[in-house]
């Protein structure tokens, strides 16, 4: 608990630094964008790669994400989430858009069920930075789910599939997918309560 409290203080201090950078970016400060990029690109790129599994497409999306940040920094609202939450939301949305446009091309060649199995990034320790307690807590929360619950949530999150697409992909009834999603999200809500409370 003490460790988490310390991390929360550290995380908040880091959030404040990022908020100040985003405000400078909104004023047209290119150096601030460079610093924001330097301190956040690994998680943003990691997320985009998790969705797309293709380096050249992921690099283009990464560029697009920070170009959007440059253009829209003034619209960032601290009331609606932390800076990292804002960045990952933009990154996920752009990566899934790209994934879906890629599917349309690929679906002409192969059926849907061969797609969407996004392998995780190679577990090379040198590529892994020290992660915050907040990140570890989220990983532990996802690990606490049953594989079936985690699968449906990850298919929706990383592949942008609707529940009916998930049901088709897993060959399960729609009701089963709904139940697994509900139980998984309720469990995450319980385990991640400290994060939810600290955001309020």
């Amino acid at each position: 608990l003490v460790q988490f409290a310390t991390d929360t203080a550290e995380a908040r201090a880091r959030d404040q630094e990022w908020i100040a950078l985003i405000q400078k970016v909104a004023d047209g400060d290119q150096a601030a964008l460079a610093t924001l990029y330097d301190t956040t690109n690994r998680i943003v790129y990691g997320l985009i790669m998790r969705v797309l599994s293709d380096t050249s497409t992921a690099e283009e999306v990464l560029l697009d994400v920070y170009t959007q940040v440059w253009r829209q920094a003034a619209s960032y609202d601290t009331q609606r989430g932390t800076p990292l939450a804002w960045l990952t939301t933009i990154a996920r949305s752009r990566a899934i858009d790209r994934l879906r446009s890629g599917w349309q091309d690929q679906q002409r060649k192969e059926p849907l069920d061969t797609l969407g199995d996004t392998p995780t990034a190679a577990a090379n320790p040198e590529e892994v930075t020290v992660t915050s307690e907040r990140q570890r807590l989220v990983r532990a929360a996802l690990d606490s789910l049953s594989p079936e619950q985690r699968d449906v949530i990850e298919l929706a999150y990383y592949s942008g599939l609707s529940h009916s697409e998930i049901a088709a992909k897993l060959n399960q009834p729609l009701g089963t997918v709904k139940t697994r999603t509900r139980l998984g999200m309720m469990k995450l809500r319980e385990v991640l309560r400290p994060i939810l409370e600290s955001n309020k």
Partner: protein, 82 residues
């Protein structure tokens, strides 16, 4: 639906809505639940939206190639000039 089933239905719809996994018809139905303050949908959705945002933090961090930083900075410079 009895009250417990109704509550579970709201939870399921809120979870899928937060994940962006509902179809259009269900999205509209859930938005009606959101307008009904007695449904409890708004409160659970706020939590689920925070959770969906947090899921992105679980990814393995990866360094992009150094060239991207240079491309980004020259791209925003071009846009400013343009």
């Amino acid at each position: 639906l009895d009250p417990k089933e109704r509550q579970e239905e709201i939870q399921a719809l809120a979870a899928l809505f937060a994940l962006g996994a509902l179809n259009e018809r269900e999205t509209r139905a859930f938005e009606a639940d959101l307008r009904d303050s007695e449904s409890g949908a708004g409160e659970i959705l706020a939590d689920f939206e925070s959770i969906v945002t947090a899921i992105g933090l679980s990814v393995r961090e990866m360094p992009p190639p150094d060239s991207i930083r240079k491309r980004l900075l020259s791209r925003i410079e071009e846009r400013d000039e343009g």
